[in-house]
Symmetry: C2
Subunit: 274 residues, 2 copies
């Protein structure tokens, strides 16, 4: 069983919308202090503003770089990370170059990450793979490259892709990176049930805008611990709800179509057969 305090300390309280200004960031920081979250996760233009609010607190400032597409030139990602650290960021969540990873240009991808790791020192770097566009083999490769390039965490998703964190992806990432590297689950995590399944699958950090709801859900948990683990089928983080021919690359669509063809719930959502 997890305490409310322990759970809060696993959460990066997140506000990354294009439309969010200082008012939202101020509220985010205040909530992070009040609820005891690990960090606030924000866009780079807000770093200084959030750092000033959070100085003399235990809440870390986590800033995204090359977000959410990861297709920026390496030097630009590194510059964004460096400036964020100068402005007070303690953690950097960078997005991997997903397109070049998919094409197998591992040398580029590793250099891209290493440059951000170097620019971020002494802040730790999480590498967002954006799993929704990757096969399991590519997820494993992305994790291996990230660790080799000096990342301290791998992370499932940006929250801006076709779908977010899946328990099975978290499990795969944890198996790949071992116990000494962090696994952050993010994207589409709305409540304690989602969170708990992802923690049980191996996540030790959760990225979510719904941090407050997640904590509230914990108080219900003690009355029905088993119920939380049994998924609604297909639960809302099942690929079948999100994968369609327009939302992901054709090869990934085929990959999930084949994979999900063995699922007994395959007809409940029929996006693969439209």
């Amino acid at each position: 069983m997890i305490t409310r305090k322990e759970l809060a300390k696993m959460i990066d309280h997140t506000e990354l919308k294009a439309s969010s200004g200082k008012k939202k960031i101020k509220k985010l920081c205040e909530d992070a202090v009040n609820f005891g979250f690990y960090s606030v996760c924000i866009n780079s233009c807000h770093t200084k503003f959030a750092s000033d609010i959070l100085k003399n607190t235990n809440v870390e400032v986590c800033v995204v770089a090359g977000f959410p597409l990861g297709a920026n030139k390496t030097e630009v990602k590194a510059a964004e990370a460096k400036k964020a650290v100068e402005d007070g960021a303690g953690e950097i969540d960078m997005v991997i170059n997903n397109g070049l990873l998919r094409e197998g240009d591992y040398e580029y991808v590793e250099r891209d990450i290493r440059k951000v790791v170097e620019a971020s020192y002494p802040a730790h770097v999480k590498v967002i793979l954006e799993n929704c566009y990757l096969t399991n083999e590519q997820i494993v490769k992305g994790c291996e490259i990230s660790v080799s390039a000096g990342a301290k965490f791998v992370k499932t998703s940006t929250g801006f892709g076709a779908f977010g964190a899946l328990p099975e992806h978290v499990k795969l990432m944890r198996e790949t990176v071992g116990a000494n590297i962090g696994v952050k689950a993010a994207g589409g995590i709305k409540n304690f049930k989602d969170t708990w399944r992802l923690i049980k699958a191996g996540a030790n950090r959760i990225g979510a805008s719904a941090g407050v709801s997640i904590l509230e859900g914990l108080s219900l948990y003690k009355y029905a611990e088993d119920a939380w683990l049994e998924p609604e089928i297909p639960c809302h983080i099942c690929p079948a709800r999100h994968v369609s021919i327009t939302s992901v690359p054709k090869s990934i669509f085929k990959y999930y179509k084949k994979r999900c063809s063995n699922c007994k719930y395959k007809n409940k959502y029929n996006k693969f057969y439209e």
Copy 2:
């Protein structure tokens, strides 16, 4: 009436997906040459690769900066633009700081744009407002600031927001900036009918991944010119199809809910009343 050649020269042939690698960019460049598009519009990591393919052609390289959220630190957006121009970009499509525009911090927003304009010289800068998160008044203000900061174009959308180009927004932007500044419509433009309505509303540049389909649609146009202008109601670029309480800020949701309450088709899509 527009010729196929004229139409092609209004199109920025676009490939901005996180999952796209060099293979997609190569095809994009080849199609742009073969069909005579104005430019290819790409992420910054591909600038050099595309410029090399397109040297000795008439196709421009257009690169996005601070894309698609616009919430990067100003210096990072400017660095991305500068490096893209060094790598061969002739145009920069930057994203405005939508969150701070909404909060009325016009001084910040104007400086943000001006720094990118300066860093991009001699390349021209388009400013993407991401209209889906703005009221009409904010769109007007965003256009005025962009022009004042030295932008050569204003642009409706990133294609990653809640919805894309609307004819009414294009009309408003054209009225605001006058005849000497460009208006680029982008986001959700799938066919010639969409394109033609946006051109008639005042757009002189179109950003789309569907450039080839758009050109193909033109050949049908000559048989039924009037049919193209009559929208399917609500057409797929109507806000009522996309605006929901989760897709846009609450204030914008209320704005459209009120605005659309006068529409005789309001019950056809009921997202405002869910």
